[in-house]
Amino acid sequence: MKKNVIALLVIIFFLLSFRQVSKEVFEFPDLFPTPTYDFKNNPLDSNKIELGRLLFYDAILSKDNSISCSTCHSRFNAFAHNDHNLSHGINDKIGTRNAPVLFNLAWQPTFMWDGAVNHLDMQALAPISSATEMGEDIVNVVDKLQNDPFYRNKFYTAYNDSIVTGEKVLKVLSQFQLTLVSANSIYDRVKSGEGEFNDQELKGYKLFQENCNTCHQEPLFSTYELAQNFIAIDSNLNDYGRGVISKSSDDSLLFKIPSLRNLEYSFPYMHDGRYFELNTVLNHYTSKETKLKFKKEGLKKVNLSEDDKVDLIAFLLTLNDKEFVFNEKHRFPRELLIKWKE
């Protein structure tokens, strides 16, 4: 009897310590500020991250099993999409916006080009239910996962309970996406004293600080607030950005400032993907018509010579993080292939 109790205690202790091991610490460089995401409500756990990765890559989240999150957010494009300027979803339906990059999401206070989503956890509801993206419904997603022995098992491992809920689906998707931290560019190495800019990059860095840093603020290269960089409205899309959400003309054409990390991988640029090259983007900023607007301050115009543009682009390219884009931890989970075969 006593022996049994001891054996049981040993097993319990073993199980407890096992669960402890699955806890993950959110790591980020000293250079970065404190994350905005409140990890207390969704503590990272390797089993949950893994489950989130499976769901991110599994088309089971769409109505006809044709589209996964990764269809539009591909790893090699810093989780943006480079085939199209506007996103392509279920039944080849074309959306109205360019799929943005996904990294350093833990520091973002709002999501989407117009800031319509206020929390990473709630973001996935938008693509899942959008008629032009995945055409599904969170209720069906939960049902499908609940009826799938593979996922029931995974939810059990992650939550010690195989009941699938909307909350759990959203939180594990957040967990995987939170681990997409990009902080290993040349710029980061220079900042941590492990590298140096060449002369051209250094010139470009100064130009960046003078002209771009107000909005595309270091070290994340965005304040993630809303601003206007005055790209002319596309009369086919008529996208007024924040103005549509707030129903206020003051907010017309305000869009969320995107990070400038990983631009080499994330073209095309802007909310409607209208520019394919950094050169074109800089020509836009220096054109006569361009007015910049950020928090009611009028910003001075951007004046750059042709040489300046070359230097600035050299600096922008130091923000590419190859290690991030090729990080094996974020890749398509092979386990899914085996699952799909069955």
């Binding site: 409500n41 969170i138 809920t165 909350e167 759990k168 959203l170």
Partner: protein
């Protein structure tokens, strides 16, 4: 004494005896027919921060969040363990702003309950859908941030002590007074705020 109170919907303002038929009539049918020309196919809303104020001014918390769905008779009743006499019942119609910006929740706040917008963050505080004079109406009232904050505080004074407090929402008032103003509201707006104020003023204690 066990105190609980019942959310009780009157199609037309009839007596309590109607209530029994009313719930029985619903069964698994999806529409509630009010007279000939009025129908409700959906009536769901959140009440939150439900508290009872006792005679000496103390507050007894009864429920943090509760989802009322008129198709689910179990949802119409909130039980409490308070046995004292009470002066008033306090609750909010809808979900507070902090909860709206704090990520995913389970239970009645789980997004599978159909009370969350998807393309823009925020809970839908109050939903009513149906047909009136052959025209569809659909009011989804919500919004958590200025100037579209639509959650409403409601305080109902208790006149007679009982172990069952019946809070009534006269649906006819909504159909007669609000639908003519606008029969389609599906996103946060100033009109949604005004309508939320009106709806909250319709509640009364039987």
């Amino acid at each position: 004494m066990r105190v609980f109170f019942v959310f009780f919907f009157l199609g037309s303002l009839k007596l309590t005896a109607q209530y029994v038929t009313f719930t029985a009539e619903l069964g698994d049918s999806t529409t509630l027919v009010l007279g000939d020309s009025k129908r409700i196919s959906k009536l769901t809303f959140y009440v939150s921060d439900v508290q009872l104020e006792t005679m000496n001014g103390e507050f007894v918390e009864v429920a943090a969040y509760h989802l009322i769905d008129f198709k689910d008779s179990n949802s119409l009743k909130i039980e409490t363990d308070n046995e004292r006499e009470i002066k008033s019942i306090h609750f909010k119609l809808g979900i507070d702003s902090t909860t709206n910006v704090s990520g995913a929740y389970g239970g009645v706040l789980d997004p599978t309950k159909g009370m969350y917008w998807s393309w823009q963050s925020g809970y839908i505080n109050f939903k009513i859908e149906g047909v009136v004079q052959r025209e569809k109406y659909i009011l989804h009232l919500g919004g958590y941030s200025y100037p579209f904050k639509s959650v409403q505080q409601i305080i109902l004074p208790v006149k007679t002590q009982s172990d069952e407090f019946r809070i009534t929402l006269p649906v006819d008032e909504i159909i007669e007074k609000l639908i003519p103003i606008d029969n389609t509201i599906m996103s946060p707006s100033l009109k949604a705020v005004e309508m939320s104020k009106s709806v909250s003023s319709f509640f009364y204690l039987k």
